[in-house]
Symmetry: C3
Subunit: 345 residues, 3 copies
């Protein structure tokens, strides 16, 4: 398919500098796009590539127009405009509705006729699968699961019993939702398993990355609200709640019963201890560990970046005696203060 | 099913304050339990909720009895008592014994008639599956694997060839046991694969969380002893040994050939370098990295928690010159000592 | 099978001290090997075990010959020689060529007759599977995938559409290649998905550990060059490029668009922010976080190791005021300098 620049300008409310009849059929990078492709400039780091782009059109902000050698579509938010145009030009593959003959389907299952249940899927009993849902190959869906319209499970996703997924969500391969939370009670030297009896409720427009796990609640449910985006290898413990439109990068861990607010941004490998509340609109930078509740929006950091090994080792060795050094510093302050007082007498 | 408070008091050696004929059918939270539900108070943080609970009965310790508005069962360890009662009220779903017609079974496989082999499972040759075992949907079991009585693999678990799993163990979805350990020998600029010829032996009453991997030994076996509990996303390297009743939270990494003792507690995201020994009864707190052996029980920490970003950045910047500051401090000490000596002359 | 020490000496260019007619059939550890087994000494930590080994022969370096109670094969690189001998004595299990009847195969798929497609595999359309390839049980292969000769997917591996894997590579269970990269554009409080339209190209002789994920590129491809070795639970973001013969240990994260050079060594749990370039031949030690580009080979560190908890807490508490202490130190320096100047007047 193709679309003209004129149509794009109208549909996405962009200012077109160029020929409205020019047609684009796909997106490309600044460096790689050809005369049939649309590209974008959002990161100023790539401004040099703008000058040599062969793209049909570049989505950019007003400040970059004069440097653009080709047609351009001007946006106050070029990356978001690019995302929406790319969604239009590159929609997900159409479904092949129906249940693959190799899939195993339990009793009392309602699969909408417009949904696709892929090869080798196993669907338990009393499952409801909405219109336009995709279960890619090899998914395992437990008893009592509900999956809302247009949601897509790429492949090899496991949803345990009674998990609920909203509409238009996307689950990448290897996602596991509803495994038992990690609950054990110490009992005379052994660990008693605490049955994990809650479930997991995932909202609409959620994306969940490959290998990410979201454990079921101990009694109440674990909750992922609408619009949340989770990257790969994330661990969400039991009874956690994550607010709407919060975005969390790869390898983050959230311990049990912690609540993260709406519209938070959490960078890779950050972590949260259990039983804390994080306010809406907080930003947690890479590898930071939150160990207390936060009631107001804020930006939190916790990363010591790598250094040349010799330098790092010297500083790290000093860290191991930091308390002693600070004590020395305080003694020295007293001594010097005394000397100063004596001088001033 | 239901059970009377009188029966619970006898079976679990608890003191009942209330009506022995009252029946409970399920567990609930302090806030959510109704008149048919049992709940518990173990974390003092939730004491306020005790006063408004609508539960039939609360399991709690003697100190909380006077604040309890309903019947109560008094325990010296309320959380463990709750766990055992919840196990009784909410047993795992009964098995559906037999081999699902979509499962693929190799030669020489012995499946106990009381075991369930789920849909789409693939079982290699010469495998032994004990009584009451559950292989949930989509599990892959390699040649020569042994699985002991009552062990449950939830779904999509992979056990490679010759792995041995004991009795009453629970493996959550996505667990991989017996993948090749990471062994490569540097050889003129390339990496020679060192064949990984050992296996993995997992004991009885072990729980293993979603996506956790336990690699097979290089020559000897990797060993997980009885009663060990492993959370999600844990990486156990080749030839590691983990002692009885040790509990390890999510995302911990244990490098090759390290031995962790019995009854250790390891918090989330801790890590262990390779080839070290950790004594019995050690506690390793969150994100701590153990880089040396420990011969006595101890508690180890290694986490710098997040701070407001401006504050963090100032401190982190100073860290990068910490060695220099300490040198300055030491020079200053000498100078001041000299000044003091001169004054005292 | 067995092989004589004489044959080994010739084939691997080793000096034999002992009987060339002695035959070995397998490898073993120094402590566990018997008179039919070959073992090796590479780590000096194990030298004591050499003196009591019952092995038929030990691969070792010239400096250890005099301490060896049995025959030995002398190598300048005993570990690499051992690896190659072990590969010879313990080759991977032979394939069972053909397509398992439970596998699902799409249209236009070319499977070489010498390849094995295991039980319950799902292969999309237009896939090419080369000679000697193994798809273990439960693998899911998307449309348009290419897999080169002799490559082995152990089990439950997912390759999404258009992923390309080279020859002689090994993918452990749970690997996911080609899931969508994590690309979202902020758009008035919600996150617009940026379609992930590139693919992943993996070279020859690559090994990829259990649960590791390699995301597809946003527009261009993510690239893993020849000879790269990746351990378990690694996260490779979209548009990352990893150079030839680089080796990366478990749980490392590489954020989007970062380029890692050739022959780098990256220890466990290290991480890389996005959009940086790391030169060839760099070494990144455990848990170090690289946040800037590096143009020359170097060794980088970033780990504070665990300490006894009381000691750690004191130092960590001081860290939170480090900037203040350094300011005090600087003031003190000025005061002392003044005192010294006054004394010297």
């Amino acid at each position: 398919m193709g679309i003209t620049l004129g149509e794009l300008a109208v549909q996405f409310s962009l200012d077109l500098h160029g020929d409205p009849e020019t047609t684009v059929t796909r997106v490309g990078t600044l460096a790689g796009a050809d005369e049939n492709a649309l590209t974008f400039l959002a990161n100023p780091q790539y401004r040099k590539q703008l000058q040599v782009t062969k793209a049909a059109v570049v989505v950019l902000d007003a400040g970059a127009v004069d440097d653009c050698p080709t047609d351009c579509l001007v946006s106050t938010n070029p990356y978001a405009s690019y995302a929406k145009i790319a969604q239009l030009l590159h929609p997900p593959a159409p479904l092949n509705p129906g249940i693959h003959p190799t899939a195993t389907i339990g009793d009392g299952v309602a699969v909408d006729p417009s949904a696709e249940v892929g090869a080798q899927c196993v669907v338990g009993s009393d499952v409801k699968i909405g219109p336009g849902v995709l279960l890619g190959p090899g998914c395992v869906i437990g008893d009592g699961v509900r999956i809302g319209a247009q949601t897509r499970l790429a492949a090899q996703v496991t949803l345990l019993h009674n998990v609920v997924i909203g509409e238009r969500s996307i689950l990448q391969p290897g996602v596991v939702i509803g495994a038992d939370g990690f609950g054990f009670a110490a009992d005379s030297g052994i660990w008693q398993k605490v049955p994990q009896l809650g479930s997991v409720v995932v909202g609409d427009d959620v994306e969940i990355g490959a290998q990410t796990t979201i454990d079921r609640g101990a009694i109440d449910d674990t909750v992922i609200e609408n619009g949340v985006k989770l990257d790969n290898h994330i661990m969400i413990g039991h009874n956690v709640s994550i607010g709407e439109h919060t975005i969390i990068a790869a390898k983050v861990g959230v311990s049990g019963s912690t609540r993260i607010g709406k519209r938070c941004m959490v960078a890779a490998e950050a972590a949260f201890v259990g039983h804390i509340d994080i306010a809406d609109d907080c930003v947690i930078t890479a590898r930071a560990v939150m160990n207390h509740s936060v009631t107001e929006p804020g930006v939190f950091a916790g990363l010591l970046v790598a250094d040349e090994i010799g330098k790092w080792r010297k500083n790290a060795a000093r860290f191991r005696s930091l308390d002693r050094f600070v004590r020395k510093l305080k003694e020295l302050e007293k001594t010097v203060a005394l000397l100063v007082r004596e001088r001033d007498k």
